[in-house]
């Protein structure tokens, strides 16, 4: 925001309150109420307003207080954010970032525990990115703001308390690039967002059991970084996808089909995909735990895939 005065933040309680998860804390004091605009509770309209502002020269970052609330703005995100660049024959660009806390939290109930990636992924013209560490959150956010494309940046409610020392100097990450989390030879585990931590927990167990998994945080949910993913598959010949998204029509389903289309000949086993259950996220802690993929499931999936040759 210091670098580019056209960058502004629009959303509920982003200003004086500092954001529901304090992501924009202190910004209103620093940049003023117009650049950090507290809006009325009118998701469809303030999202549309951000789009109109983007079409006329600003670079708004639109926050869904909880990403699930953006379902109320689905028309604006789909019809206007995603499609206007195309329908206008390329005349207008919509350089907005739509972001907010999403994913399954801790017993927040169904509406506040949405897995929205599946809903947004087929909107043409929309780019999807999920961050997972303080380092990549900063780098991806900057890249998203500077991109001419409308970008949906998924943050996860359970990852806000992560701490990490990040470089003092300026850095920007590539929006379309996957992150190699742990190199390995035996199996490619593709994951993103919070599930990265479940995978790494499982990886510890797996390493102790003598396995050597390669863990890739795909980060770019659309488009997929099939270059990095492909190189890994050419090495390991086995793929496990672990996601928090819905099983039906989810990111994993798309990823699996992209891998089959592009790297079928390199596969030595079927692709397994562990997704969360197709249920509204239940309130009860136990039910909620069973809804999303747990490390033990990842361990046994890897064992199963690696047994077969």
């Amino acid at each position: 925001m210091e670098r580019d005065p056209t960058v502004c933040v629009i959303g509920e309680d982003v200003g004086h309150y500092g954001g529901s998860y304090k992501v924009t804390k202190g910004l209103a004091t620093k940049f003023g109420d117009l650049r950090v605009l507290d809006t009325p509770i009118a998701e469809n309209s303030f999202t549309g307003m951000g789009i109109g502002a983007a079409m006329t020269g600003l670079r708004p970052v639109i926050e869904g207080m909880n990403m699930g609330f953006l379902l109320l703005a689905f028309n604006q995100i789909s019809n206007n954010c995603g499609m206007l660049h195309y329908t206008s024959g390329g005349q207008f660009t919509i350089p907005v970032v739509i972001r907010g806390p999403g994913g399954v939290g801790r017993q927040l109930g169904a509406e506040h525990s949405q897995r929205l990636e599946s809903y947004f992924q087929s909107i043409p013209g929309l780019q999807l990115v999920a961050c997972s560490t303080p380092y990549n959150a900063k780098g991806l956010m900057k890249a998203a703001i500077r991109s001419e494309n409308p970008v949906v940046l998924f943050e996860h409610v359970l990852l806000y308390n992560l701490k990490e020392k990040i470089p003092d100097e300026e850095y920007v990450l590539c929006l379309e690039e996957a992150e190699m989390v742990r190199p390995g030879d035996q199996i490619t585990i593709l994951t993103y967002s919070r599930m990265r931590y479940h995978v790494m927990q499982a990886a510890k167990t797996l390493v102790n059991k003598g396995y050597d998994p390669e863990v890739i945080d795909i980060r770019s949910l659309k488009p997929f970084d099939l270059y990095t993913i492909g190189n890994s598959i050419k090495k390991t010949h086995r793929v496990l996808i672990v996601e928090e998204c819905m099983r039906t029509g989810g990111i994993g389903a798309s990823l699996r089909s992209a891998i089959i289309d592009n790297f079928w000949d390199y596969l030595d086993a079927e692709i397994m995909c562990l997704s969360s259950q197709d249920v509204p996220t239940p309130y009860a802690g136990t039910l909620e735990e069973w809804t999303v993929v747990q490390p033990a499931q990842i361990v046994s999936a890897v064992e199963q895939l690696c047994k077969k040759t």
Binding site: G89, I94, V172
Partner: protein, 426 residues
């Protein structure tokens, strides 16, 4: 003289007393639309004798005073009059040609024509500067023409040709022109209003944050009576008034939302009254009279430009054709149609020009001939233009094509070794 000059600004006062003050007129027969109602009102006020509504200007903390804006009091010059005449003639003639071309199979899909409503487009848009923005609906051809988009580009777009204003990628309901600050035709009800509000927000932002003090750009948001029951309309009235955005909300109340009569859809059919409810002036104007529209528009646009905030203007108008060319138009009564056709805004302006000796009949004929030629030329241009080539299909999905799965060489991006390098040229 300001259209709102009859409005008396009072010191802020408790809402209750304000309400009392408003009540004598605010509660006046609400469902009478220039003497016409398409169906029996359901409410008890149906017993009130139908009568024409008068022009009213209201603001949140003002006493309502009624004001009759007669076109006779309006002074317009010859140049202005002829500009409006030409613009309205173009709108009418262009749309008639669209109907012909549609029936000849030259254009497809849903085509919504503007016939009858020309006074609104002309009355408002011809007052704008090139920098001002217009946000329209699916009935957007004539708004585009009034804003200066060449007839050739609009017709070619309708023909689905590369020379169209959106390269054939938008179509009838999605006209855009960056050059003319036409920020779009929006096909879903209400979805353009937030975008227009955003454009107005940009103007305010430019002035106050980016310190472009000369930025006095105004945005006009056009939509119909049906939209006024949609949440986005009300949400944006609130935001625009809250932040005093330079925008004018222009309701083209043509009394029908496809087959739904405005009176059957709306608890209080007087849309202009929603302006004061949000703290902005609400104005009702005869949308069949371009001079009245222009007078109201002039004040509303000036108010926005001064930084005094938004205005809601309800233009009561009528479409002479069905909702779209696919609409059998069976519900509107013949006498209702005849009533409005007798008030044809293009005929009325012509009459006014002749009566006031602003031009002669033969001078107007020259303009008519010119417009015929422009529209003929637009058709010839569109017809002889190239259809989009296959290679155009994947262009413009992303402004930064690196975000798309297909690389510039047409190959899948994973095959490009440079795939992971750079994103938005950061």
């Amino acid at each position: 003289m300001s259209a709102f000059s009859a409005v008396k600004i009072l010191p802020a006062q408790p809402i209750s007393s304000r309400h009392r003050r408003l009540s004598p007129t605010a509660l006046a027969p609400a469902n009478r639309l220039l003497g016409f109602s398409a169906s029996k009102p359901l409410c008890s006020s149906s017993s009130v004798v139908a009568r024409g509504r008068q022009h009213r200007a209201v603001s949140a903390n003002v006493v309502i005073e009624e004001k009759q804006l007669g076109s006779t009091s309006t002074v317009i010059g010859r140049e202005e009059a002829l500009d409006m005449y030409e613009d309205m003639a173009l709108g009418r003639s262009f749309e008639d040609m669209c109907a012909q071309m549609y029936y000849r199979g030259k254009m497809f899909g849903f085509v919504h024509l503007y016939n009858g409503q020309e006074a609104v487009s002309t009355g408002f848009i011809r007052l704008l500067t090139a920098r001002d923005s217009v946000v329209s609906t699916y009935r957007d051809h004539v708004h585009a023409l009034s804003k200066g988009v060449p007839a050739r580009a609009v017709m070619a777009e309708l023909f689905g040709k590369t020379t169209g204003c959106c390269r054939g990628q938008g179509g009838s309901m999605h006209m855009f022109s960056r050059e003319h600050n036409l920020i779009g035709g929006f096909a879903f009800i209400g979805e353009g209003i937030p975008v227009a509000t955003g454009a107005a927000f940009s103007s305010k932002y430019r002035r106050e944050v980016l310190k472009e003090e000369k930025c006095e750009d105004v945005t006009l948001s056009f939509f119909g009576d049906g939209t006024c029951n949609n949440g986005q309309f009300l949400e944006c009235l609130n935001m625009a008034a809250l932040w005093k955005l330079p925008i004018v909300f222009v309701v083209e109340n043509n009394l029908w939302a496809i087959g739904m009569s405005h009176l059957r859809a709306t608890s209080d059919p007087e849309i202009w009254k929603k302006g004061p409810a949000f703290g902005m002036p609400g104005v009702h104007v005869d949308g069949m009279d371009v001079l009245k529209v222009r007078e109201v528009a002039r004040e509303a646009v000036a108010r926005a430009r001064r930084g005094d905030g938004p205005t809601l203007v309800e233009c009561e108008t009528y479409r002479f054709r069905g909702h779209s060319l696919a609409d059998p138009d069976e519900l509107r009564r013949p006498d209702e149609k005849a009533h409005y056709v007798s008030r044809d805004p293009t005929v009325a302006l012509k009459k006014y020009i002749l009566e006031h000796n602003l031009a002669t009949e033969s001078e107007l004929k020259v303009i008519d001939k010119k417009i015929d030629d422009v529209v003929e030329d637009a058709v010839e241009f569109a017809d002889s233009s190239r259809l989009p080539p296959r290679s155009q299909l994947l262009e413009n999905v992303f402004a930064d094509p690196k975000g798309f799965g297909i690389g510039p060489d047409g190959k899948y991006r994973c095959e490009d070794p440079g795939f992971t390098q750079g994103t938005a040229q950061v």
